[in-house]
């Protein structure tokens, strides 16, 4: 427990800092857009309704969907800009998060701004015109000061919304306090999830109270309240921004998809890079397709993917050649088509496999799937929810002539319990799953290599193809991760009791590499 809290504390400055910068930028941009829009809406009753309706409409879009939609939109814009100006931009991370949150912040600011000014005492407005103020003077000297408390109340609402919704920017690659929540959810580290929620709530509360101080300052015309509130807010933003100046191109960005093995391997790579006296940032919890695209665009410098995933999902191949053929053809294709370097395989696979309890397999004399075929009529097989509709299963059935007495489907957790209790004899498994070791299972060999191989491979971004420091850091990992060590490390993070953090598991894994 205390180890996990300590781990959460150690990344708080980075997560909190990024969260503050993102929220502040979105609010500032939101204000910059909303204020002129409000003024237009106030001066012209005809556009008032469309402006308010548009802002309300945005609120009805779930914030996660809004964030997700900006990614393909920006991708298209970036491609367009690349064609026209010869320069694209990052469609991942800060920009989509900023734009989505900016849109999100607009409704309360516009609504309160418009309501605050439209509902001002008409006699005061007539007097402002009567004494000879221009429209601009009336706005700046009379309308805005009088509507300021109402406007500030809108800014407060917007700030709390934005700080809350900013936790959702993690899946599009922006570091935020949401990293605690999303990675915690993946590895069932509830300490981390709670820590993230508490930190975001605390930030929202503090900002809300500071804005409340400013709001009461505008209402009571107390200058010191406004000054104190603004100064503390600015100090927070500056403090969040200072460490960012240290980040430059000498910082390596390591990516990870959204499951435990990926978190552990990202930590392992990050540690190796740090040992080369280079600084590292991690972008974790990425969707599979997002991670690959980010690498191709040099937004990530390195991450681990699986050969079968690239083969089927990126190269769109439907055949399943032998393991070494896949690796070779994939390496050539990545270099040729995307400029990506395939540094090499870590030495283990995370593939679909068939597994049995070790004692049962030994008593039946089963070592391979071919051995299994002759016994299958008397055995029961359990699969996860999608296994029996996957091409891997069809291929296995066909190639080895499998025909089981019964097929049953399970949630993964129950599937392992079922095979361990003898309820089923064979299960579908992921070959690097920690539960294979924990339940004392054996993975059956696939002599015909029917199942597409899923070698864990290290990929380097096009811009890092000749980066000696990065290669020196990661090269020693190639072929150095035995599947037994990976399973144990995964288990340390995934098990229900006495869980480790991915960072701690990576430290353990580093000491259990194959010596070369």
């Amino acid at each position: 427990m205390s180890e996990r809290v300590a781990a959460a504390w150690s990344v708080l400055p980075e997560y909190l800092g990024q969260h503050i910068l993102l929220s502040a930028a979105a609010l500032a941009l939101g204000l910059l857009i909303s204020l002129p829009l409000s003024v237009l809406a106030i001066r012209n009753a005809r556009i008032r309704w469309p402006v308010l309706a548009f802002a309300s409409l945005i609120q009805t879009v779930p914030s996660l969907a809004l964030l997700a939609l900006f990614y393909p939109l920006l991708l298209a814009l970036s491609a367009l800009s690349l064609r026209i100006f010869g320069q694209g931009f990052s469609a991942l991370g800060f920009l989509p998060s900023l734009l989505a949150l900016t849109l999100y912040s607009m409704l309360p600011i516009i609504r309160n701004g418009v309501t605050g000014i439209v509902n001002l005492n008409p006699a005061v407005i007539e007097a402002a015109r009567g004494v000879g103020m221009t429209d601009r003077q009336r706005l700046l000297r009379i309308e805005l000061p009088l509507a300021a408390p109402m406007l500030m109340a809108g800014v407060r609402t917007a700030a709390v919304w934005v700080i809350g919704a900013a936790t959702l920017s993690t899946p599009v690659g922006q570091t935020s306090l949401g990293n605690y929540i999303f990675s915690g959810l993946q590895v069932e580290n509830w300490v981390s999830v709670l820590f993230g929620c508490a930190a975001a709530a605390a930030l929202a509360l503090v900002v809300d109270q500071l804005l409340a101080l400013i709001e009461s300052g505008t209402a009571k015309r107390s200058r010191w309240r406004i000054v104190v509130g603004v100064c503390v807010l600015l100090a927070g933003i500056v403090a969040a921004a200072v460490p960012r100046f240290g980040a430059d191109s000498s910082t390596y960005v390591i990516g990870a998809k959204n499951f435990s093995e990926q978190y552990i391997l990202a930590e392992l790579m990050a540690d190796r890079i740090r040992q080369q006296d280079a600084s590292v940032a991690q972008r974790v919890g990425l969707g599979s397709a997002i991670a690959f695209r980010a690498l191709a665009r040099n937004e990530l410098d390195a991450y681990v993917d699986y050969s079968g995933t690239i083969w089927a999902n990126v190269m769109l191949r439907t055949d399943a050649p032998k393991r070494d053929v896949v690796l070779r053809e994939m390496g050539d294709w990545l270099r040729r088509e995307r400029g990506i370097t395939l540094l090499g395989s870590l030495g283990f696979e995370n593939a679909y496999a068939l597994a049995m309890r070790r004692d049962r397999a030994e008593s039946l004399g089963i070592h391979t799937i071919a051995d299994l075929a002759s016994h299958s009529a008397a055995l029961t097989i359990g699969g996860d929810l999608e296994f029996f509709v996957r091409p891997e299963w069809k291929a296995l059935e066909h190639a080895y002539g499998l025909g089981f007495r019964a097929q049953r489907q399970f949630q993964p957790t129950f599937m392992y319990k079922a095979v361990s209790s003898g309820e089923v004899d064979v299960i579908s498994a992921f070959s690097s799953d920690g539960r294979i070791a924990a339940e004392n299972l054996v993975v059956l060999e696939d002599p015909q290599q029917v199942i597409l191989s899923y070698d864990a491979v290290v990929l380097l971004a096009p811009a890092r193809a000749d980066d000696g420091k990065l290669r020196r850091a990661l090269q020693p990992l190639i072929g150095a991760v035995p599947i037994e060590s990976m399973r144990e490390a995964n288990l340390q993070v995934d098990r229900d009791e006495n869980k480790s953090t991915p960072a701690a598991a990576a430290k353990w894994l580093a000491q259990h590499l194959r010596v070369q």
Partner: protein, 266 residues
């Protein structure tokens, strides 16, 4: 119709104004002239067009047709805000700026005109004296004042930039009768002392009779009478005008008979 002795400082020539895309005619073909130093009242019921007529002069309303001239120049020759800085405007709503002190309210037009700070401060104190408010009121906020005190500030604000023309729209309409009478009388004295030209809209004919040199009666957007109070009291061809003037006459006669009776009992 009596011709003003002085050259006219405000002149409306065949002015018309309609609202709602031309459907609601507020002012129809109105011509009038106000000479320098005159105190003219426009009297009429609600919807008679008196307020709209007044507002065409400082362009709070722009006329659809006809010419409005101030100091011999058409008002359309000036930007509205420049025109308004030269013309004092006092209205029933008063409209003091609630986030500014009394002093800041009074000094707003000089401030907009770019006067020096010292000059604005001196002028503010001078005006507080003029409208008979204590000087320390400069530091107070409008919310701390009574209705009568607020309208004194309203008058001071309208005079601040040494405007010589005052447009007043029911200026004392929301005040209690005693305050109203006191403020009206005091304003009339101010008008004399400072050589102002005043055009005042009121629905209260007695107020018009007591304060104004000349009374313009409006009905349904048109001028139906334009004469001195004495002239109108003598009689008028229009029946509505006669009925209107009958009220102050009856009130005066009743008060006169009561006073006579009181004198006999002494």
């Amino acid at each position: 119709m009596s011709e003003p002795q002085q050259p006219s400082i405000i002149k409306l020539d065949a002015v018309s104004k309609a609202f709602g895309g031309g459907r609601n005619v507020a002012v129809r073909n109105v011509s009038l002239a106000v000479g320098k130093g005159e105190f003219v009242a426009i009297v009429g019921g609600s919807g008679s067009g008196k307020t709209t007529t007044l507002k065409t002069i400082n362009r709070l309303v722009d006329a659809d047709a006809g010419v409005v001239a101030v100091d011999g120049q058409p008002v359309t020759a000036f930007a509205p805000h420049e025109l308004r800085r030269r013309i004092g405007y006092v209205f029933q709503g008063i409209g003091l700026f609630p986030h500014m002190s009394v002093g800041e309210n009074i000094g707003i037009t000089p401030h907009l005109l770019g006067w020096r700070k010292d000059d604005i401060a001196a002028r503010t104190l001078e005006l507080l004296d003029l409208v008979d408010l204590p000087r320390e009121f400069a530091e107070r906020m409008p919310a701390e004042l009574s209705g009568g005190q607020r309208q004194r500030v309203g008058v001071a604000r309208a005079l601040a930039a040494r405007s010589e023309i005052m447009l007043m729209d029911e200026p004392f309409g929301a005040l209690d009768p005693i305050t109203r009478d006191a403020l009206g009388t005091e304003y009339r004295r101010l008008h004399e002392r400072m050589g102002l030209t005043t055009l005042m809209v009121t629905h209260d004919v007695l107020e018009a009779v007591l304060l104004a040199d000349r009374i313009i009666v409006m009905r349904a957007g048109e001028i139906v009478a334009d004469d001195t109070p004495q002239g109108l009291l003598r009689g008028h061809p229009d029946e509505g005008v006669r009925a209107l003037m009958d009220m102050p006459r009856r009130q005066a006669l009743r008060v006169r008979s009561l006073l006579d009776e009181a004198a006999r009992h002494e």
